[in-house]
């Protein structure tokens, strides 16, 4: 049984069917004029051999102008699977995504350099030293592999987290470009039994991480049936360029038939038009170009339509994930993916705010709600991410989980049918006939059935705002709860066969 996710009954859409059609046509035109610039030779060859017009561009870097004809795209859209399964170490955590079914899975990530610790020092009132309060203090530092293990551990226990994208970049001294991939994969997989998706730091490590996944899943065939890992590549750099190295990685992952996200992240105002129609036509063209390439490499490769559109901040020209337009673009992308019936990877929850607080809560809850309502299948909703994707705070992830429980509850389908209404008519008549006219007696049968939403779990006593402290308690509780690690035998084989994993990650040997 796969995870349930949140089934959005009637997804919220911004575009009419005609508008979606117009965006599709505009994207098709973009793919032939101006087409894409490819910095990757192999992509050019593949596309060319299938009928794309290719022209070398003069300049320092080797690059080509590629014009992808419409029928190539349409064929790719045809062979791209409409249902994608992402497996998991614990098969009950598998995710099954149908491109035409708005069932939302909530995913963490993605990697930030900074890890935010929280502490609660006591402050004394100057005017009245008998008065003391504890105030949350956030301390940023560089992320480590221990942090990654902790985050995977807590996310294993966060109910609303359906899949894990690592939240923090490991910057320990003994982590190198070369051993980073095997370590981040092992640390994440060993502390979390949900689906694991990641990018690759070094293509050379692809076969090592796939081998690791095979060992865990129980062999090559088992991994095919239960792909416990998948990949994300930003092969397109906006506007409209196939980057050399990520395109190479993309092609190699497709060859191995593992699920992959084709993701594009244009920034409205700088790398895409600031107008909605413009960024939409462009991002759609960029993603379709990637999907087309993937399907040419290996028809039937499971792909996700990945969209991370964002608006620029007018003060810094940095990403403004907290802006309202960012949610609008994301919702439009969800609709375009559904238009093609390809499962969508979408984004919400990343905020501009640098620390947990009112701004972070408002920004993330806003985008989490509206984007979830649009029904993306794989919502990278950024549990714990702050400061436009550069800071991760585990405490914030715990808060996000709570807020997603509210969203999940809100999106449940109403129960209004004949038997229910008949029961209600009886109840109304019964109660009205009593002297007290109170329905309280009828609360009981539903009180513990999960039909009534709970009070905010971090509500303080009296007037004190204890949200952070209570969430922090919860975080510690979750950390203290054990996780199911990879078994001893498999761990031994992984350490034997796959070079570069830090010995201290072996829980059976390091004594920790």
């Amino acid at each position: 049984m796969p995870r349930k996710g949140i089934l959005v009954d009637r997804p919220f859409e911004r575009l009419t069917r005609e508008q979606a059609e117009l965006i599709h046509q505009a994207s098709m035109q973009i793919l032939t004029d101006p087409g894409l610039i490819s910095f990757n030779r192999e992509a050019v060859d593949i596309l060319h051999s299938h009928g794309a017009a290719v022209e070398s561009i003069a300049g320092d870097h080797q690059s080509w102008q590629v014009k992808i004809p419409e029928q190539l795209v349409l064929k790719a859209l045809d062979t791209a699977p409409k249902t994608v399964k992402l497996g998991a170490r614990n098969p009950d955590n598998a995710l099954i995504m149908h491109g035409d079914e708005p069932r939302v899975y909530l995913i963490t990530g993605s990697e930030t350099n900074i890890w935010l610790d929280v502490d609660f020092p006591t402050y004394v009132n100057k005017a009245d030293p008998t008065k003391e309060i504890r105030v949350p203090e956030f301390k940023p530092r560089r992320g480590t592999i221990d942090d990654l293990c902790q985050s995977a551990h807590v996310c294993e226990h966060l109910e609303m987290v359906d899949g894990y994208i690592r939240t923090v970049n490991i910057q320990d001294r003994d982590i190198t470009e070369e051993n980073k991939d095997v370590n981040k994969f092992f640390a994440s997989l060993n502390n979390n039994t949900k689906h694991f998706m990641s990018g690759l730091t070094s293509l050379k490590q692809l076969d090592n991480v796939v081998r690791m996944a095979e060992l865990i899943a129980g062999g090559k065939k088992a991994l095919e049936d239960n792909p416990i890992i998948s990949f994300i590549t930003c092969l397109v750099k906006s506007p409209l360029q196939f980057v050399d190295d990520t395109t190479e990685t993309f092609i190699e992952v497709c060859r191995r038939g593992l699920p992959i996200v084709v993701s594009s992240s244009p920034q409205a105002g700088t790398t895409a038009p600031i107008k909605e129609a413009g960024i939409m036509a462009q991002i759609n063209a960029e993603v379709l170009a990637g999907i087309t390439l993937g399907q040419l490499v290996k028809p039937g490769t499971p792909v996700l339509y990945g969209s991370v559109p964002v608006r620029a901040r007018m003060d810094t020209l940095g990403d403004s994930y907290g802006s309202v337009e960012t949610s609008q673009y994301n919702i439009d992308c969800v609709q375009m993916a559904r238009f093609y019936r390809i499962p969508n990877y979408s984004t919400s929850g990343v905020c501009d705010s640098k620390i947990p607080g009112q701004q972070s809560s408002i920004e993330r809850l806003f985008s989490d709600m509206v984007v979830t309502m649009s029904g993306p299948q794989y919502l990278h909703c950024a549990f714990g991410l702050l400061d436009c994707n550069s800071v991760f705070c585990l405490l914030q992830a715990v808060l996000d989980d709570t807020h997603f429980k509210m969203i999940e509850f809100f999106l449940r389908q109403p129960r209004v049918d004949q038997p229910e209404l008949e029961a209600m008519l009886k109840q109304i008549r019964d109660v009205v006939a009593t002297s007290q006219k109170l329905y309280i007696g009828h609360i009981r049968p539903v009180l513990r059935s999960g039909e009534i939403s709970g009070v905010y779990p971090f509500e303080g006593s009296g007037e004190a705002d204890d949200v952070f402290e209570l969430a922090h308690e919860r975080m510690k509780e979750l950390l203290a709860r054990p996780v199911e690690h990879i078994d001893r035998e498999t761990t031994a084989r992984i350490f034997e066969e796959i070079p570069g994993i830090l010995p201290r990650l072996n829980i059976y040997e390091s004594g920790s």
């Binding site: 002297s435 007290q436 109170l438 309280i440 007696g441 609360i443 009981r444 049968p445 009180l447």
Partner: protein, 230 residues
């Protein structure tokens, strides 16, 4: 088995079931006798009123109280149990005199004139009934004169007044004044409540007690009964 009936009464209070068709806290209770049916058969089999009340009803309610304290029961559960006790007490009332059981006392409750808010007052009534008091609820929007008349006729030990509007709070003072004028003030302890009412306000109008919620209402009545309240 008589002991069994007492245990079943206790259990039906814990389950908050009045009639056999009622659902309880646990699954599969529908069809088994509720507290009213059980009390009837307890009476028929000659069990003492004393044991029905102290072991069965109060015993059950004590356990409910513990479950509430422990966070296992919520207010709707507590009220369901209190209602079950109230329903049982109604059946037992005719037998109380001469049963050796000290009746806990009679309470008249009312929401004052021009005030239609009665949810809080109803909850207070349910809890008082559940604790074994005989409650006569006059309703809401009750004339000052009608309240005074009821006190004269029913001779209750307590009068509970509820008001939810700042504009109707003053009616409580009117009631107390009229009781004094009629020489009835000393016969009855008066407790007041409702969102705008406070301890201070209660004192200022000469009431005997104040309760911020249903549980405090019960506590203050119990304290006044045992004379610990001043």
């Amino acid at each position: 088995m008589p002991e069994d009936i007492i245990n079943l009464i206790q259990e039906s209070v814990i389950q908050g079931r009045i009639y056999k068709d009622d659902e309880g806290m646990d699954e599969g209770m529908v069809g088994q006798p509720g507290v009213t049916e059980l009390v009837e058969s307890a009476l028929a089999s000659g069990l003492s009123i004393q044991s029905i009340i102290t072991k069965g009803l109060s015993g059950g309610m004590n356990i409910v109280g513990q479950k509430f304290e422990a966070g296992e029961y919520f207010i709707p559960d507590m009220l369901a149990s209190a209602q079950a006790v109230g329903a049982a007490m109604e059946i037992l009332e005719p037998y109380l005199a001469g049963s050796g059981v000290n009746a806990k006392g009679k309470i008249i409750v009312a929401t004052v004139k021009d005030d239609l808010h009665d949810i809080g007052k109803n909850i207070v009534s349910i809890l008082l009934r559940g604790a074994g008091y005989t409650v006569k609820d006059l309703g809401n929007n009750i004339d000052t004169q009608a309240i005074v008349d009821a006190v004269r006729e029913e001779k209750p030990q307590f009068l509970g007044l509820s008001a939810l509007l700042t504009s109707t709070m003053a009616r409580m003072a009117d009631v107390i004044q009229m009781l004094e004028q009629n020489g009835l003030r000393d016969q009855v302890k008066i407790i007041v409540g409702g969102a705008p009412v406070s301890e201070e306000f209660a004192k200022s109008i000469g009431a005997d007690g104040y309760g911020a919620d249903g549980f405090q209402a019960l506590a203050v009545v119990e304290a006044l009964t045992s004379g610990t309240e001043n």
